[in-house]
Every structure is written in C-alpha cells, then in structure tokens.
Symmetry: C2
Subunit: 250 residues, 2 copies
C-alpha cells in the first residue's frame, strides 16, 4: 500500500532537483535492481508487486504495492515489478588520490547512456575511480544506472572540478583526442588519468590545458570520429595491455 505522499515523493524523484533535495534516487527494472542487490548496493526501500518474487537483505524495507500503484509510481510507460529507492552519495575526492592508480575522467559527457557505458568500461578494466565533471549527465539518472549494467554499484565515482584536480596531480594525464600520439605506443603506466570529452565538443579548454599526452586511436577509414565510450575503451585496453607485456612484445 502506497500513501499519497509516498507516491508523490517517488514520482518527484525523476527530477534531479527533487533527488538532490531528498538525497534519494530511484531505479526500476528486475534485471538492474537484481544486479545492484548482487553488488550489495545499500538500497533503503524496494517497492515490489510480488513480495515472494524478490529476495532482499533485511536491511532493506520491502513494500508490496499493487500493479496499479506501481504504474502510477513508475517513471516509465511500461512499469516493471520492482522500483528501488537508494541514498545519493557523492564521496569527495581525497587530496592526492589521483596520483595513484588509474582514473577515468569524464569531461562534459552529457549522454546518460554514454556515461553508463563508461562506468561499465572503468569497471571491466578495474580502474580505481571515475571522475564526473559538473556538466556530465547525472550519475543518479536512471539511464546512467541502467546502461552501467551493475557497474554503478561497483565503481567509485567522484564529482570533480576537473581543471582544479588535474592541475594538482602528479600522474600523467592522457587526453583522448583526434590528433594525438598513437595509442599503440603508450608506455607502461601504473598511475594515469584518462580524460574523455563530450561527443560533440571534445575536451573543454580548461581540461585540455592540463593534458600531458594526447592519445589517438589510429584512423584508417572514413569515419570522422569514434563514439566517446568506444574511444575511451580502446585507450583503456591499450593502457592495460602496456602494463602486462607479452612474450615477444615490448
């Protein structure tokens, strides 16, 4: 059973402003919620249309609601059987954190699907953290969480004023660019920051000024550019590959 106030609150969470005010976000869909539960994401409440169909730890409040109530609470035309509510957390970046390990920094990536795909890539390649500039798609947008395929719960994501934090780090900063050095020539780097810009505009001027190496995926054909997530993935693969040289290779 859903009170009118609770329904109103759930519906309001589709807006970023309400999410920030309440410190909460929602995510819907059996598959994505199951993935996040498997990754032990600390949801506060699960709204389900069939209590028997969903196993959740006792720390999570389980509320059974009718399909009609779900249809009203859902942000989608076709509601699923579960709607989860969780706390928004944006851990600040500790001073010096970027100096160690691998960081993927997103500079104005506005498409939520791309941001989610980039989280999944950072997770696959075991990057230590992801940074989001203020003009990226909101991490707690449902499309970001869905596209991340569970990586949302596993990757450490920090909001960051990129020009400021990049200027302060000692780690090399690799900017994905159309006119840089060949990504196949990357040396082994155990500490590095990979910066990827927006699809349309590339790196912002403040971030471009901090980049220590521009790297490019060699283009052989006619396409003008690669999708931002595709380019970042190729750079991440080459970075990891350079760290683990193969017999006969450098």
């Amino acid at each position: 059973m859903l009170t009118k106030a609770e329904l109103h609150r759930l519906r309001s969470l589709r807006e970023k402003k309400s999410r920030e005010e309440l410190g909460l976000f929602v995510v819907e869909g059996e598959k994505v919620v199951a993935e996040l539960l498997a990754a032990q994401f600390p949801f506060t409440t699960l709204y389900v249309t069939d209590r028997a169909a969903f196993a959740a730890p006792s720390s999570i409040r389980l509320v059974e609601i009718t399909p009609d109530e779900m249809a009203r609470a859902s942000h989608f035309p076709t509601p699923s059987a579960v709607l989860a509510v969780g706390p928004i957390a944006r851990p600040p970046l500790a001073p010096g954190a970027l100096d160690r390990g691998l960081t993927l920094a997103l500079d104005g990536v506005q498409d939520p699907g791309n941001v989610g795909t980039l989280l999944r890539i950072a997770d696959w390649f075991a990057f230590d953290r992801v940074l989001l500039s203020p003009d990226c798609a909101d991490l707690f947008h449902q499309k970001v969480i869905n596209a991340s395929m569970g990586s949302f719960a596993r990757v450490r994501v920090h909001p960051a004023d990129l020009p400021a934090v990049l200027a302060a780090t000692t780690a090399p900063i690799l900017g994905c660019d159309l006119a840089g050095e060949d990504v196949h020539a990357l040396p082994p780097l155990s500490d590095a920051i990979v910066v990827i810009g927006s699809e349309g505009r590339g790196l912002s001027p403040g971030v471009a000024a901090c980049v220590s190496r521009r790297v490019t995926v060699p283009r052989l054909g006619g396409a003008e550019s690669l999708n931002a997530a595709v380019a970042a993935a190729i750079v991440c693969d080459n970075l990891r590959r350079a760290q683990t040289p193969r017999r006969g290779a450098r």
Copy 2:
C-alpha cells in the same frame, strides 16, 4: 507543397514493411543529411522548409514544404528542417568475397544504436564490409543511420545468412566471446572476419559453430561483460595493431 498521397507515403516509411514495399527509406535532421550528402549518398528527394538553406546536387529532387507539412511528414515529435528519401539497396555478397580483407559480421545485434555504432567502427578501421544477419536491427532504421554518423553511406553492408556464408569462407573467423584467447595475442591477419553477437545472448549456435578463434578482451574488474560495440571496437583495434607492428613489438 506536399500532396496528401506524398504525405501518406512519407509517414508510412517509418514501418519496415512499407520501406520494403516501396524500396525507399527516410532520414531526417540537418546534420545527418549533410553528412550523407557529403558522402555522396544518392538520395532521390530532399524535402526542406527553406530551399536556400540546403545545397544538393542536381540529381536530387528538392521540394520546399511548409514547417506545418514537415511536422506532419516527420517521424519525430520535433521535426527538423530536412527530410531525405533514398533508395534501399542491399547488395548481395559476391561468392568468395569474405576470403579477402576484413569483415565485421553482426549476429543478431538488435539495438539500432549499437548497429549504427558498429558501422562507424567498421568505417574508422577501414573494414572492407559489414554483414548483417536477418535478425539484426534494420539497416534503414533512422536510429541506425543516425548512430552511424555518416558511416552508413561509406561502409559496404550486405545482408547475410551468417552460418552459410561463414561455412563457405577460407578466412579465419574471430568470435568475440567472454571465454576466448587474449585479444592482445592476435597474430597479424590481413584476411579475417570478426563476428559480434547480440548483447543479451552472445553468438548464435549456428555462428558459434563456424568460429575458428574465440577472442576475449581481458577482464580485470567486476563488470560481467562489455557493450557489444565496445568489445568489437577493441578487437578491431587489436587486429589493426597486429597488422602494423611497432618497433620493439612483435
């Protein structure tokens, strides 16, 4: 000026069935139409709301219509200033064609955005052709064309019964998989077919049976899989990299 019959025909082209019957497709949007014109795509007609704003070769019929007519003809809630109509062409694959050069084969990739991104990747890496299995998203779906960012007009795309054509080729067939050999160990191959399966199901059994090498992007973190286009792009990059060994590498 748009006749009622013409309007009806344009609107009908959002359905694959009508596209096939008429042998025509539509694509809307200034940016994508300009990209395709730049790549010399042989559109038959451009419908524009401002004739002066669009330069097209004389072989293309230019029809000026009112914004109100465009709003009715458009397949989108927010119409653009141009709607282009072009002929559907699905060139058959010549016997033996797969034996030479690089081929990207899509096995049941149903998301139109992924299919478009994969065309862009094939174009970037100068693959000789792309094959689409019958259960892939339709090449002439507007979302495929838009996501390809102009590569739709540059890449040779053939429909293909994959198990049959793969069984008949002499080229090695690389299947992108979660449990194959390390993609970083690929030997130089000037002739090869890279097969990518659907996001949810991977390679279909008939195609998997034809694969001569399963290749995997080494996973270091927690993500269960990579997006299909991302995985294909990394395999294509490694294939091209193996072809052009660097000083000090194999």
